[in-house]
Symmetry: C2
Subunit: 99 residues, 2 copies
């Protein structure tokens, strides 16, 4: 299990408009092989958005990062932070984290 | 509901040793008022660790960030990234995100 943390500078859309604009993309991402889940993040005040992803394995995560950064670039988004992590499961269980 | 994303440079411990070293801290964090959950993250290869937190409200998140950064500083950890986000719930639901 591997966690992917991505955030980037974006000019919107935010909130309900974001939900509508990216519904198709979210459905496409839902079909990514070996993806457990994605939480979509957004911050209109700082003009940042991104996602927290949980993957079954690192290979699928690595393939997705290459694909997703290319997609973000095609949207004109270039200031992108991407980090991958293991999840410390015993500590996460103590803190009720949902995996 | 607000998501907090924190990561920082760390020299370890990792894995099972990390689980043991921070069990008490995880129990302390579990008692934070208005915390829904925390997922603990670690990456020995890049010497980074952190957490993804879900909070019931922004005020509790902001109070925690001040407290937690002071605690990390007391551990000698100073290279800290901290970002807060709203969760886009409709998109997260499409991608099976667990809130």
């Amino acid at each position: 299990m591997k966690l992917l943390q991505i955030d980037f500078k974006m000019k919107g859309p935010w909130g309900k408009e974001m939900s509508m604009a990216f519904e198709g993309l979210a459905k496409d991402i839902a079909a990514e092989e070996h993806l457990i889940w994605k939480i979509w993040t957004e911050n209109e005040a700082t003009e940042e958005a991104g996602g927290i992803y949980l993957w079954q394995n690192e290979e699928a995560l690595d393939r997705y990062v290459i694909k997703h950064i290319a997609r973000l670039n095609s949207f004109g988004i270039t200031e992108i932070n991407s980090k991958k992590f293991d999840v410390n499961i015993p500590l996460t269980e103590i803190d009720r984290g949902k995996l």
